[in-house]
């Protein structure tokens, strides 16, 4: 027998007529079920992010508050010895960059990433809310370090903005590539220590760097941070991590 005949016979298999009474009963039950359901309310992007903040803000801001206190004390103590101020300011900025890391990718660390991904919440918005909460605290810490260092815009650029951006870029890159928060913290801390040592030993030489070069480094770091954050928000590589893609 030819396949064509089989297919046409399969297509002509009898389709029994539905019982009209039973169909009416199904329709009636479905209508009742539809009316009785509790309609879901669509939550907008901002509302979702605002609601997420209460779960995120407390631990991140507590750590950043403690850091802020440390920045005030350290830079206040360094004020009499002016040569210590650039190194202290850069250390404060670098620590600010590292504060968000312990709270980053917690779902991944505790093996709950799949559960989080399966929830009907937008992963992108969740990540954005978390990053936003950490960024607000970071901005306050960096602003405090810049103000308390008492230098001009160039001192702020070289000893606050550059170390902050470089440490953030390195730690985020390590987070996505080295595959763990601990390795990201270690690499970020190494970067921070290196910059701190350079600021402590060659602060005057560092101030002679061309402003264009410093601005270029900052811009490159910002671009690298943007790329890493975009990848994080999009959830790149999640399928592979969860074993759905080889």
């Amino acid at each position: 027998m030819k396949s064509v005949d089989i297919i046409s016979t399969l297509r002509s298999l009898p389709a029994p007529e539905p019982d009209a009474g039973r169909m009416r009963r199904t329709l009636r039950l479905c209508r009742a079920e539809y009316r009785a359901r509790r309609p879901l309310r669509r939550v907008g992007a901002w509302e979702l992010m605002r609601r997420q903040l209460r779960f995120t803000i407390l631990p991140v801001w507590a750590l950043q508050g403690a850091l802020l206190l440390f920045i005030c004390l350290a830079l206040g103590a360094a004020r009499p010895a002016e040569e210590l101020i650039p190194a202290s300011a850069s250390l404060a900025a670098e620590l600010a960059a590292l504060t968000a890391l312990p709270f980053h990718s917690r779902a991944r660390r505790y093996g709950m990433e799949e559960v989080e991904a399966a929830a009907r919440l937008s992963r992108a918005k969740l990540t954005l809310a978390r990053l936003g909460a950490a960024a607000v605290g970071d901005a306050v810490c960096v602003a405090a370090a810049a103000l308390l260092s008492g230098g001009g815009w160039y001192v702020t650029l070289v000893f606050v903005a550059t170390p902050f951006l470089l440490t953030t870029a390195v730690s985020l890159a390590a987070l996505s590539r080295a595959g763990g928060v601990y390795s990201a913290i270690c690499l970020g801390a190494l970067m921070a220590l290196g910059y701190y040592a350079a600021a402590a030993s060659w602060s005057f030489d560092m101030l002679r760097i061309s402003p264009l070069l410093a601005a270029g480094i900052c811009l490159a770091a910002i671009a690298a941070i943007a790329v890493e954050m975009y990848a994080e928000i999009r959830g790149n590589g999640m399928e592979k991590r969860l074993g759905y893609e080889y």
Binding site: S3, I7, T9, L10, L29, C30, Y34
Partner: protein, 165 residues
């Protein structure tokens, strides 16, 4: 009216769109259930459960043009539940698909016999594709398999059925 338009009407509060949606799919879902449950009563229960589940979760379903596949997925689960329940009861099963006059058509009877001999997976594929006229994409979605896999398995199933006839 197309599913998308019916969903829009339903969202706007027009409950008659729900009737139309259910009315459009009830016969084919019942037909599917008849093949996957031991009795006609079980099949009707499974079809009813399918639509009730569909209504319960209709807000979670985002309409992307895969409503049919989604409905069949619910129907498959409802049939599995019904089958389990029927298996637990002591009553002897009666084939739902054995409609009067079936044996009269020799070819159809041969086909039914051959289908019964096929492994359940191959039988399901053939019925979904040719008796229910689902697209390969819809079957792939129901079975959560790549479309190519469905295509090759369907070809193998057809070959196996041809050998049996």
């Amino acid at each position: 009216m197309r599913d998308g338009e019916l969903f829009e009407l339903l969202e706007a509060g027009d409950i008659s769109a729900l009737d139309e949606l259910i009315g459009a799919y009830y016969p084919e879902i019942l037909r599917y259930c008849l093949r996957h449950t031991p009795t006609r009563e079980c099949a009707e229960d499974a079809a009813q459960e399918t639509f009730l589940n569909c209504v319960r979760h209709i807000e979670a379903y985002v309409h992307r043009g895969h409503f049919r596949a989604w409905l069949y997925k619910i129907a498959a689960n409802a049939c599995a539940d019904q089958f389990r329940r029927a298996k637990d009861s002591a009553e002897p099963p009666e084939r739902a698909a054995d409609e009067p006059g079936y044996e009269r058509a020799e070819l159809k009877a041969d086909l039914e016999r051959a289908l019964a001999k096929l492994p359940a997976e191959q039988r399901e594929l053939l019925l979904l594709r040719y008796a229910h006229e689902l697209t390969l994409r819809e079957i792939a979605e129901i079975r959560r398999e790549p479309m190519r896999t469905v295509q090759s398995r369907l070809r193998a199933a057809l070959k196996a059925l041809r050998k049996l006839m």
